[in-house]
Symmetry: C2
Subunit: 348 residues, 2 copies
């Protein structure tokens, strides 16, 4: 941690000067790591997240392997659905499938309130275990899916290209949409609040698929619910990261919804993105995950390009523009960490 008492990740979230740009990776624990695959040979994804010792172990793997500047809890954005009464499973080659999608007033009326300390106690226990293991050396990020992205799975029944059923609930049954989002955002707010109370030192809200929406629809149907979840996290006194992809035209509204740090994907050059977001917020990003498969010199140049665009301004957290891809060579993850450290020490 150098001469400071607080980890550089948390300093950067607050736009304080740091000794080197902090770096971590969305989906940094996962199949591209042999250590993770060894555990996945014995347990399914849901088995891992339901056993705190396993979830903690998987969370710590990339911290040990790559010395990243933050751990992020190993979990899935769909976890809060099951205690609400929305059942799902993961199926090879097709991703998650919801068994009872939310389409009607009855479906919404049937939703149970979320009490994370009861139904998601295993997640909170994993947080306590990770914190104990990290022993103050690295901060732990908790996370939740954003209301729109989680709702899109719950309504569509799985991944979607067009989000047709979700958008049609907005357009054809706006009262139903708002009723569902009210309940869902209450649940996600309770979930992230509980994670922070269990020890998460920062929180990220993933609105991965929000880029499917027009700014007009986002403002009317999504912003208030995202704001509720972000404010619940911020009220606990930790920095909050607000992330989405394909958000070039949504950034001003995402800023309005909230977040100390706004996540950028590679479609927005970091300097332009930061200008749009405003320098009174920190930004996180924004290397294309495919760059980690490129030759080392190309990868180095792309990492440097991101850092050059950040310009040494306090408040940049290095990350990819979306999660690490399967089959990413682990040594390239390591290389990115080193490129970021070396460049930012030399240039800031």
């Amino acid at each position: 941690m150098g001469m400071t008492t607080e980890p550089r990740f948390l300093q950067a979230c607050r736009r304080q000067p740091v000794d080197a740009t902090p770096v971590w990776f969305m989906r940094q624990a996962g199949r591209y790591m042999a250590e993770y695959r060894a555990i996945r040979e014995k347990y399914s994804l849901l088995e891992i997240v339901r056993q705190p010792e396993l979830a903690a172990e998987v969370t710590l793997q990339p911290v040990r392997a790559f010395d990243v500047d933050a751990a992020i809890l190993f979990a899935d954005i769909l976890l809060p659905l099951q205690p609400l009464g929305i059942d799902f499973g993961f199926y090879k080659g097709e991703g998650p499938r919801i068994h009872n999608p939310v389409r009607s007033w009855d479906d919404v009326a049937r939703l149970r309130p979320l009490v994370p300390e009861e139904s998601l106690a295993h997640v909170l226990e994993a947080i306590r275990l990770v914190r104990a293991e990290l022993d103050g050396k690295k901060p732990l990020i908790g996370f939740t899916g954003a209301p729109f992205t989680v709702a899109s799975y719950a309504i569509e029944g799985g991944p979607s290209k067009t989000y047709k059923t979700t958008k049609l609930m907005m357009y054809a049954a706006p009262d139903l949409w708002h009723a569902f989002m009210e309940k869902l955002s209450d649940a996600l707010a309770a979930y992230i609040r509980a994670q922070i109370r269990a020890g998460a030192q920062a929180a990220q809200m993933f609105d991965s698929w929000v880029g499917a929406l027009s700014p007009q629809d986002y403002a009317e149907f999504v912003l208030p619910y995202s704001r509720k979840v972000l404010q619940a996290a911020q009220a606990e006194g930790v920095p909050v990261i607000h992330f989405g992809t394909g958000t070039a035209t949504l950034l001003p509204l995402m800023r309005e919804a909230g977040g100390d740090v706004i996540g950028l994907d590679w479609r927005v050059p970091l300097d332009e993105g930061w200008r749009t977001v405003g320098y009174d917020r920190a930004v996180q990003g924004n290397l294309d995950p495919v760059a980690l498969f490129a030759p080392l010199d190309v990868l180095r140049e792309k990492v440097h390009d991101v850092l050059r665009r950040a310009g040494g301004r306090p408040g940049h957290i290095f990350n990819l523009g979306h999660g690490i891809l399967q089959h990413t060579p682990p040594e390239r993850v390591q290389a990115v960490v080193e490129f970021v450290r070396t460049y930012s020490v030399q240039n800031t």
Copy 2:
């Protein structure tokens, strides 16, 4: 056509004042129409495009049904691949699959030059048939895929979420990428030129998947080849539309690549998009295709929102932000045409 000699679609492409905002729909011929499904019961997609009479008939169906302001040739962006020596088929539930994807110097060396008058004579014949049928009453738009989007299919072997193999050719084998793009863009330029010489009165270049790229990668690896195809079309003296999705951060570069008309998707509010593109170009768009499933009053409001943002400025062509979706109710397509005509006559 009112009192003018030229169809309003062509006038709008040239930013001339029109009696009503012209409207047509990307993928306006297709499965959502019973007339089309009747033909598809007997013929595959490739059988239709290879028989000029069938292709012409399908092209004309939406013109007859909805009185749209332009016909667009029924074809597929992958058609030029086969004469180059890249074989493909369409497979239920997975879309197109390339049998011999382009990955190596040998693959590129093996590509044959495209002589559209020989290998794609059926497409040119369909254009002549449609022109004869339309008899000057509506203009016919020819089209080609853009080099990046066509290359992404040829390299990935089918649709992709990450475009990993395509981007890695750029990053790891840039000479190979440029050699392939040189040949491919020559072929696509020859193809659109031949369509115009056969009678297409405007041309659209579809770069549907270009939104996967950072502006930096677009500028280095894509722009020069897109420019070549667009210039080949413009050199024939017809207006050219340059279309992509997810392009919010690419619009200034797409403008630089060329096009009399720049296509916008619904992620960019039309007024902001036009400001970014510049008022010395026309714009096309940009209703979310999902809006056509919405209740009529919501659909009307969304059509009006697009037209209000266009502000009656000459040079707006009404369209969706991407192709018509399967199962779209045909009466909603009709309704959009009527909403556009009524509103734009009353307000401009």
